[in-house]
């Protein structure tokens, strides 16, 4: 089950994210104050660094946003590829694992997901283009599983690309309301969203 994308041996579990302490501190400030409301000085303060110390590692606020969002999307894609590789290879098995990976990611990486989705407006064109390319790669995995499932009779969907976007949006939205101490357990959130996702693609 090795794969060039596979950065984790267990796609179901999440440890600490792959951010440096300075980037993790920046994420917290961005999520609280927004990109334009955040100064390099406040990031340095949150990271326990001097402003020159922060600039030593990151050349600009935009570079910091880029580093966080790229690491986030790279982790999401690594878990998605590993989940797909770990499936039985059928369209249905790939779809289920891809959905479960997305649901787990958005329960675990709520702040990361919030930043990536709300600050597209603040990304420079090159950063935005790379972000969109990574997001599109994610949706293409889902769309391919859906299209293959339509072809082999597992699914019924007249517009697999729209269904992939719908399933993806539904999983992304989990980051906005899920709380570890809330009424639903992780397993319940996964089970219910697998049910919704399978219904969206008309799983038999």
């Amino acid at each position: 089950m090795t794969h060039e994308h596979c950065m984790t041996t267990d796609w179901r579990s999440f440890g600490p994210d792959m951010l440096t302490p300075a980037l993790r501190a920046a994420l917290g400030v961005f999520v609280r104050e927004g990109y334009h409301g955040t100064s390099i000085r406040s990031i340095a303060g949150a990271a326990g660094l001097s402003v020159p110390g922060l600039y030593h590692h990151h050349r600009s606020k935009q570079a910091i946003l880029d580093a966080i969002v790229t690491a986030t999307m790279t982790e999401m894609l690594a878990h998605s590829h590993a989940a797909e590789d770990d499936s039985d290879g059928t369209a249905r098995g790939r779809f289920d694992n891809l959905v479960e990976a997305l649901v787990r990611f958005h329960m675990e990486r709520r702040d990361h997901a919030f930043l990536a989705s709300t600050e597209m407006r603040s990304m420079d064109p090159q950063v935005l283009a790379r972000h969109i390319a990574q997001r599109d790669e994610q949706q293409r995995l889902l769309e391919a599983a859906i299209s293959d499932g339509v072809a082999d009779g597992s699914f019924v969907s007249a517009y697999p690309a729209d269904a992939a976007r719908a399933v993806s949006s539904l999983c992304v939205s989990i980051a906005t309301w899920y709380r570890p101490d809330g009424p639903l357990t992780e397993d319940e959130v996964i089970e219910r969203h697998l049910d919704f996702a399978r219904r969206i693609v008309g799983a038999a």
Copy 2:
């Protein structure tokens, strides 16, 4: 078809929003720069007012956010209630009209919806509480239609509240990608999302 909530005779059409020119200018700045990245001075500038002139009508930046978000949610609820009143009264008819109203709203009011969903972090407790109450009212309409549909055999759903949140999240996400000059017409977006929503609730 009169109703105390009904502020429009045609829930399917949207004219200009109900914001004053100053609030509409503030919405534009908030959506571009974020709440914390926006100064009263920049709102006044966008509105063509002096800072004292802006303060004459609005006592704070928070009051401006509150006014925009409350007007937005009030309009969304007015369209939802009108849509439900305009249905044939069956669970299925109410559900379809509620979903269509939500889809239309999120195609027409993209900036408003973006602000309401991304700046909950910036709302003072009282403002946040009112916003959540309005959002919950919206979801309860959907949940009631789903529960009634389960009871009368139109729908199959083991968790109507979660299904209502899923359908609502799916409609809200339309604001993040829909563009009037994009590949899908309004009617196609409505038709496909009605299809997804009906599948989520297991419409027969």
